[in-house]
Structure formats: structure tokens, C-alpha cells
Amino acid sequence: MTAFRSLSAAMVKGFLRDKMTLFFVFLFPLMFLVVFGLLLGDSGSDKTKIAAVGEGPVLSTLEQTGAIELEKHPDVASARQKVDDGDLPAAVVVSGDRVELIYAASDQVAAGTVTGIVSGVVDKINLGAADVTPRFTLETKSVEDASLKPIQYLTPGILSWAISISGVFGSALTMVSWRKKQVLRRIRLAPVSTTTVLTSRVLVSIGTAVAQGVVFVAVALLPLFGLRLTGQWYLALPLLVLGTTAFFAIGMLVGAFCKTEEAASGAANIVIMPMAFLSGTFFPVENAPGWLQTVSYIFPLRHMNDGMLDVLVRGKGVEALLLPSAVLIAFTLVVGFIAARIFRWED
């Protein structure tokens, strides 16, 4: 058994036997994925719900548009009541050939949408009934656009965030605890090189990141959440590795400054939380003001997020890896160098 392999094995065992760490590495981010996925992921909310009275081709065609959901009412009064109360934006009442649309004046956007759709449907049925050949034809085509469904940006975002947690906490806490318990001094007194110790620890973190990737993507792919992977998803692997090394380096820096595990957790949280919010973990950064987007580019997590989004759900190819990889490598080297310079074997 080489020192490298047995050190790695020792750290993996220590990791798997520590329920607290397992919770923060897997369950905690997964909770966010589940909660946000369920909160934001209800695709039914895209449809506008209106009250409907009566029956006939107009109502059935309306349902087929896919944009309107009908709530059936037995009489006009109860449908009208819903609109008056502000529960529904509009009510459509069909009696014979007469179609009446009542809408709430308060929500102009919803009113416009509903009016447009209902009149479109009525016109179409009229045309069909008149048996006239249309002069103008309308062709529609759907394209995959950059604005994504919540689960599509949540999965890469929360995965990157989870990797930043395991990377930063993993290296910072190992370093602080080993220094405090004098394991570092003990290792220093053994004929084993610093490189061996460091690379085995980095390798364990990379393994953790890959495990996180598999678990999170598997959960998001469940029909309940409905993640759709596009393009070359395996291109996420190099990002997992490079992201881990960058966050590992940050953790080393934190670990070099902090004397106790408590201080290190606090400092790691101070680094991770703002970075997570500003890097598009929970919502797309594109919605943020311009200056904030500029600020977000200083975070490695922002670049990792961008890369993950591109290769996991935007269907981009290897060219999307270039910038994020370059930034993550640069972060690893610069932060790692500083951390190595201020590294201490003992308190």
C-alpha cells in the first residue's frame, strides 16, 4: 500500500463516517434543489386560468391552445364572482353562438393575453364556418431560447455551489483540524512528501465533486423535476475537476488563516454565501442589474456556473469550456500559490 493510496483511503473513510460532512456536501444542497425545483418548477403556472361557462367548439379549441386553462362554472354569476374577487383574470361565457368575455381591469397584461387568445380562437372558428380560403398564412416555429426553465439553471447552479462548499470546507477544515491535532507535524516527521499528502487530499475532493454531480443530476432528471440534459453533458467533468481545484485552493487560504474549525467554517461561509448569490446559483444573473453582473465576474463560481449551464443545458460544445477553464486554472494557481506561501505546519 503506497502512502498516496492509504492516505486517500483514510480520508475517504473519515469523510464517509462523518454524518455532518455528508449532510452538508450532499443533502443540504439537494434540499435547495428540491425546494427551488418544486417552488419554481410548476410548469402549469405558465397557463392562464380563466373561468368558463357553457360548452362548444370555442371552449374546446381554447383548451387546445395550451395557453389557457379553463375552470368550469355552472352559471354566469359564480364565474363573474371569481373575476370580481380577483381570483381569476377573466371569464368566458358561451351561450349558443354568443361568446362573452369578462375581464378584470386591474391586470392589463393578463387581460390583453386572454382577449387576444379568445378573439383569435373565435376568428379562427368563424373562418372555418364561413368556408373561406385565407389570404394570409401564418407560420410559427419554436426555437430553443437562452432563457431557461428553473430546473435547467438550478441544477448546474446548485451543483457548482455544492462543489464550492465541499471544496472550500473540505480543504479548510482538514488543514485546520490536522494542524490543531498535530497530524500535520506527525506527517512532517514521516518520510512522505508534501506533494503526496496534498495530491491525495485534492483527489478525494475531486472524487467527492464527481459523486455530487452524479447524485444531483440524477435527482434533477426525475420526472418530478424534469431536467433535460442537452449536448455534450460529459464536458461538465473537466469543469468539476477544475472547479474543485479552484475551491480547494480557496479553502487552503482560509485554512492558513484560521486557527480553529469554528473560525474556518465561519470564514468559509463568508466566502461562499455572497459568491453563491451573485454567481447565479439560485436565479439567473442575467436578471440582475448590469453593475452586479460585472461584479459577479470576479467569482470563480460565476465562471463555473456559466460553463456548467452551457454544457449541461444550453447544448454548447467544447468551445464553451475555454473561458471558464482558463479562469478556474488561473484561480487555482494564484490562490494556491498565496496559500502555499502562508501555510503553517503548526500553530
Partner: protein
């Protein structure tokens, strides 16, 4: 091999200051191969700093250390496999069992995994092999950490306060382990603040206080050199103080609530005189100890 064997440890005039505090102030000693050498003194005497400099964990401000003919500072990979170090805090990997700790430390030296079980047997932890380190008792953890220091079969072993904070039974168990290690031909350098323990275990001791070595020799030689009186303790009421003072050879006698203590440098005639008077019931004889040596050297009572 012919010729003089090189000493295991040669320490020459090492010094280390932290600001104004002279933690180690000109310490020199030599330890022969196979010797059990103790560095004694109260907390803060500079024992640990001395040991850390000798192990190569700290750079001395001045002075020279040679271990088995090699310099320990800067970090000397040639020397490392030949020395075993147990640090003051029990340093273990998180959540590993006793056997796994030994296997992991052993692998740093390229030692086979089977050695772990031999070590567990040596320190009497075979039945705790699959128990996680944090679930062991204090004494078991100390024995495990000593086993970790020995796992690569070093020639020279450094132990820093191995018996600190242990209950008396655990301390005695550990003494057996330490004697077993010496019986394997290892050179042992260890620190302790238990003077009684050092007297029992060590071939030679160095008594340290305030960064300096005050005396160094075999414990028996140090005690004998004191020329201190022997104390004979009797139950109170068997003999009056005046009667005791009347016995030939008695230098002094004093009483407290439960006993009468007689001081003498000629215990044999005093004891036979007491036997004639029929007052030997519950009698105790106390000779001088290293604590008396410490008192004599520093002028103050020994406080660990």
C-alpha cells in the same frame, strides 16, 4: 562492527527564546544507544521545546543536535525512518479505527499492513482494533499513539508526556508498554512531570527547570547524592515525641494529627530500637525521592 558506538542522541548547548522568555537556555546531554532517558520538570520547564528541537520540529536559536549521526534540522528524510515520535496531543486521523490509524501511519513509512496487528498486541489493544479512536479511553489513546510512533520499527523513540492525565492504573499499564519497548533494544527519550515514575523507569534523568538542566544522572545516584535523612513514620500515640528524640541516631521527630515522623540518617539502629519498644505496628519507612532532589536544587517544593 568494532570501535566505539556512536551515541543515539547528542545535544550540545541548544537555546530557544520566545521574545524575553528563554524557553531553552543552554541544554546539553547525551543519550547512549538502548538507554531510557527521562527529561523531568514541572510544566513550563522547557521540556517539550527541548524535545521538539531534538526531534527536528523546531530550529534552535543556537546549539547542535545529532541523532544517530545525522542532523535533524532542516527536515532530514534520511533520518526520519529511524526515529519515532509521539506528540503531546494525540494526533490521529478523523474517524479511523485503531487498526486503520496504525495502517495509515505505517503506510507513510512503507510498512506492511500486518505490522498494525503486531503493534496492537504490543500495546495491549488487540481487542480494540476495530474501535474508532475517539471512542477509546484516555489510556488506550495514549497507548495507540505510542504504537503509531513505533509502527515503522524506529531505533530511537521520543515520547512527550505519555502518561500525563492518566489514572494510576492506566499509568502502570503504560509503564509495562514502555519497558517492553526498551526490552526490544530501542533508545527512549521521554518527558514527564511525574518524578516518581521517572525514578522507576529511567536509566538516567535530566531535571529541568526554567529552561536549564539542573542535574543529570541515574535517579538512585541523584537521591544518594542528596544525603537526605530517611523518614520513619509511626502511628500516633505509640511513642511520644520526646521518647522518639531520645533514641540514638534520631535527628528530629515531629507529630501531626495521625502520625509521628522520625528523621534519621542511621535507619538500622533506629529501627531495632523501635522494635525493642514494640512500636513497629503500621510503621512506614520513606527514603528521599527525586522530589527531594528537586527541592534541594531549586529551594522550592515540586509542583507538577
Amino acid at each position: 562492527m568494532t570501535g566505539a558506538r556512536i551515541p543515539a542522541v547528542v545535544v550540545a548547548d541548544i537555546r530557544k527564546s520566545y521574545g524575553e522568555l528563554k524557553a531553552v537556555d543552554g541544554v546539553s546531554f547525551t543519550v547512549a544507544e538502548g538507554e531510557f532517558f527521562g527529561i523531568l520538570g514541572p510544566n513550563g520547564a522547557g521540556k517539550t521545546t527541548t524535545l521538539e528541537i531534538v526531534e527536528g520540529l523546531r530550529k534552535p536559536d543556537g546549539g547542535q543536535v545529532t541523532l544517530l549521526g545525522e542532523q535533524p534540522w532542516p527536515r532530514n528524510p534520511k533520518l526520519l525512518p529511524r526515529i519515532g515520535v509521539q506528540l503531546q496531543a494525540s494526533s490521529f486521523f478523523e474517524k479511523l479505527t485503531a487498526r486503520e490509524q496504525l495502517q495509515t501511519f505505517g503506510s507513510l513509512y512503507g510498512v506492511s499492513r500486518r505490522t498494525a496487528d503486531e503493534m496492537l498486541e504490543l500495546v495491549g489493544l488487540t481487542d480494540k482494533a476495530d474501535v474508532q479512536e475517539n471512542k477509546l479511553s484516555g489510556g488506550q489513546r495514549q497507548r495507540l499513539s505510542i504504537a503509531c510512533a513505533l509502527v515503522h520499527d524506529p531505533d530511537l523513540v521520543f515520547l512527550d508526556e505519555p502518561t500525563a492525565a492518566l489514572d494510576p492504573q492506566a499509568r502502570r499499564n503504560l509503564w509495562d508498554v514502555l519497558r517492553a519497548i526498551q526490552a526490544r533494544g530501542k533508545t527512549i527519550v521521554y518527558t514527564t512531570h511525574y518524578l516518581d515514575e521517572a525514578e522507576i523507569l529511567c536509566d538516567r534523568v535530566a531535571i529541568m527547570d526554567r529552561g536549564r538542566i539542573l542535574a543529570m544522572d541515574a535517579p538512585a545516584t541523584l537521591v544518594r547524592g542528596l544525603d537526605a535523612p530517611t523518614h520513619v513514620v509511626l502511628q500516633k500515640g505509640l511513642l511520644t515525641r520526646e521518647a522518639a528524640r531520645g533514641i540514638t541516631g534520631v535527628e528530629d521527630a515531629h507529630e501531626d494529627e495521625v502520625s509521628l515522623t522520625i528523621s534519621t540518617r542511621k535507619p538500622a539502629p533506629v529501627l531495632s530500637a523501635l522494635a525493642e519498644r514494640g512500636t513497629l505496628d503500621g510503621l512506614q519507612v520513606r527514603t528521599a525521592t527525586l522530589e527531594d532532589v528537586f527541592l534541594d536544587l531549586t529551594g522550592r517544593e515540586y509542583r507538577a
